[in-house]
Amino acid sequence: MTHDIRRAAAVLGLLAAAGSAHAQDANLARNLAATCANCHGTNGHARGDMKPLAGLSADKIIAMLADYKSGNQPATIMHQIVKGYTDDQIKLVAGFFAAQPAKK
């Protein structure tokens, strides 16, 4: 429970930081994160070789995606996909996955 509250608090901060343009669309983070589910599993609960995102810290997800975007982290595909999302959208997605329990 404490853990959940801490996660929720982290999400609150991130969402606040993500800017007012998206603030009024309550489902935006959820909807954006759902675009990742095809490979990373529903709500980030990936299977097999794919990387699970549920329960990772938002900062870590944002940092990983920034490295893919900059090319610092080589990839087969993520460097191409991440360039389709704005920094605000990435923050929302990261906050959503951070708020998910790590295990399904």
Binding site: L12, T35, N38, C39, I81
Partner: protein, 424 residues
């Protein structure tokens, strides 16, 4: 920005976060009365995902009508043709959807009463809806090739462009082909389901023949002026892996099939196995419902809601839609359409505003041999001015090369999207 505004923005954001976490915590346990009845017709990538996400995100009654007992995936089905996967590997059930509260009806919808908001089932029943989701896939315009419909009806030609019995039939034909035989395949003019799929098929069949029947030939007859997806990568695969075995011909229009002969503009081609992928349009149900308002072939949709521009309260997904620019007809994209539709439908049923900034993305992996795959990826953001999805400049792209790592990712993609779509 003054302090009051800042505070207000934080409060709005806090509300958003609570909504998001609340939903995550209460998935499948939504309280209170149902906000509406949604009927989903078609349990492929689009329809299954819509049913699943309507239950995941909302509190609605969802009925999925699907004519088949199981979901059979078109993606990965070319590996069955190569003998590298079995039908069981690409087949999944609907038990996961049932477990999350979707009422799954095995049956056929024969008519849609748009004004009366109900669908009619073969055998006489009716199901009423507040919102209808139609994910009918494609059907074929076989009459554009002389002799094709009878050849398909008799089973002499298998298209294998819908996975299932057709996949099994084509695999049998390939297995029965003599060493030294010709496997000829015909690719229709774009747009068709799965742009890279035909070229993947050519590679995978050639891969199988190279080992099992090395004197054989693969002849790729493409009605298009060039390879339609991952062009350079497929050209490289054709050249590096299958030189001498695989021949590719562009601008090859198939006029007629007669026995084992494919009649092109200026020549006849004899084939031991003739695999014709017919020209396509939106599925029959979309046509009979009068939804084909784009070129009399595809369904125009409002991209914020996926609602048909021809019929109110009818949301159409996947291959059946008139695609946005550079948007492929793929299982992955149908899954993404479904999420846009599910989110919008739940808002509409509550009388609330739909999201004005949806995003969809696509990944298509193609195998060029048993274990080596390559991808094409794209991200599409909604453009409010033009009211359509557009790819983001500088995003997306294709593999540097086909390899085994991407082969593993391709299978991982399949496992995850099947689980996502079917609540496995």
């Amino acid at each position: 920005m003054n302090a009051t505004m800042l505070q207000r923005r934080h409060l709005l954001a806090a509300g958003a976060a609570l909504a998001a976490t609340g939903l995550a915590g209460c998935a499948g346990m939504a309280a209170g009365p149902s906000t509406g009845r949604v009927v989903v017709v078609g349990g492929g990538y689009g329809g299954a995902t819509a049913a699943r996400y309507l239950k995941l995100w909302g509190n609605v009654d969802v009925t999925l009508v699907e004519r088949n007992t199981d979901f059979v995936s078109c993606p990965i089905s070319n590996l069955v043709l190569g003998g590298y996967k079995q039908m069981a590997d690409i087949t999944r059930g609907y038990d996961g959807l049932k477990a999350v509260g979707v009422k799954v009806v095995q049956g056929e919808v024969t008519a849609i009463d748009v004004a009366g908001k109900k669908v009619r089932l073969a055998g006489g029943g009716e199901i009423a809806y507040d919102r209808l989701v139609l994910s009918p896939g494609i059907d074929f315009m076989a009459d554009q090739v002389g002799g094709l419909q009878p050849a398909l009806d008799s089973g002499r030609i298998a298209h294998a462009w819908k996975a299932g019995p057709q996949t099994v039939a084509l695999r049998r034909q390939i297995e029965a082909m003599p060493d030294g035989g010709v496997f000829a395949m015909f690719i229709p003019k774009a747009p068709y389901r799965c742009p890279p799929g035909p070229y993947e098929r050519a590679c995978v069949v050639a891969s199988y023949l190279k080992t099992a029947k090395p004197k054989s030939k693969v002849l790729v007859l493409d009605a298009n002026p060039e390879i339609q997806s991952k062009k350079a990568l497929f050209e490289k695969a054709f050249k590096d892996r299958y030189t001498g075995m695989l021949e590719y011909r562009a601008n090859a229009e198939l006029k007629e099939v007669s026995g084992n002969i494919a009649k092109l503009d200026f020549e006849d081609v004899r084939a031991d196995v003739l695999n014709v992928i017919p020209p396509q349009r939106a599925g029959d149900l979309a046509r009979s419902a009068g939804l084909l308002n784009m070129n009399n072939r595809w369904v125009g949709v409002n991209w914020l809601t996926m609602e048909s521009t021809a019929a109110p309260n009818v949301h159409v997904l996947g291959d059946a839609t008139f695609s946005a620019p550079a948007m492929p007809k793929s299982g992955h994209m149908a899954n993404q359409h479904a999420k846009v539709a599910a989110a919008a439908i739940l808002q509409l049923l509550k009388g609330e505003a739909v999201s004005t900034t949806p995003v969809v993305m696509n990944t298509c992996y193609s195998f060029v041999a048993q274990r080596d795959a390559m991808h094409v990826a794209s991200v599409h953001q909604y453009d409010a001015a033009d009211k359509t999805f557009k790819t983001v400049p500088g995003s997306g792209g294709v593999s540097a090369a086909a390899n085994q790592i991407e082969g593993r990712y391709a299978l991982g993609w399949a496992e995850n999207i099947w689980a996502d779509s079917l609540a496995l």
